[in-house]
Symmetry: C2
Subunit: 145 residues, 2 copies
Amino acid sequence: MISNSGVKAMNIMTIGQIARNSGTSIETIRFYEREGLIEKPPRTESGYRNYRPDVISRLSFIREAKSLGFSLMEIKELLSLKFSPETNCGDVRSQAEKKILDIEHKIDSLQRMKQALVKLVTACPGSGPTSECPILEAMETKKLG
Amino acid sequence: MISNSGVKAMNIMTIGQIARNSGTSIETIRFYEREGLIEKPPRTESGYRNYRPDVISRLSFIREAKSLGFSLMEIKELLSLKFSPETNCGDVRSQAEKKILDIEHKIDSLQRMKQALVKLVTACPGSGPTSECPILEAMETKKLG
DNA sequence: ATAAACCCTGCACCCTACTCCAGAGTCAAT
DNA sequence: ATTGACTCTGGAGTAGGGTGCAGGGTTTAT
């Protein structure tokens, strides 16, 4: 290796270090790279991937968004709201507005679900044979959808 | 057919009617039955499934919960949260409490995501290039997850 | 009584999102 | 200079969640 002679660039990491720090496996990181969810990082002379640490938060974001029911496709869209010098601000804006509505709907549904469960828990000591399925009932009467 | 002679039981539906009314395909309904997410309905003499209309809201709930990032397994657990003579109150209660925490975490994450997007939209002048839209920054710095 | 529209089972297949090799090269420490 | 931990590519395999027939009965309208 020839580079890295004078200054030690301590802000680059191997894929293994990124994996350990992000809770995402090496294989998955490479998979996300193939799928375009994270940028192709520069390589060393020998071909090793060379990451800047900020890819870690991107990976955390992906993990979080997945657990909220977004597909990798949707996550890609969310992420691309930043990196598109081509598209104009209006496009991004309306995209973002759509996502906001989507998210608001999700929050709503979760709040109704939570309410149903809270009701179930507080009614618990009574222990009588309550309704067949409290969560379903709560969701039904409030007309989810 | 011999039954159904005197009284017309109008509150039963075929699988096709359920499918059309719930937005879930026939195949998927049968799949959910195999997986135990919905009860096996009674059958006609000829073997046709005979549903009561309330299965529709159960299917809607499943669809909703899926979009919120719950797996079919988790949905099964959510649906089974009720007091039955078999399970004791403590079990149900602690199960429900775990689900509540889970849901609260999801709501939190969604709210942070929404905030990031709202910030993006309000920071967006509505035209021009988007080289430095604040969305990813907002998401990264807030340390989602 | 015949066609169109349904429904049945069983099984193969598909998509998404990974996960796991094999075979080979690289790096750090001893 | 060798060992052991690490990385590379390419490709096959897996789990979860459906989807699509084929082959064959059933219902309903005409």
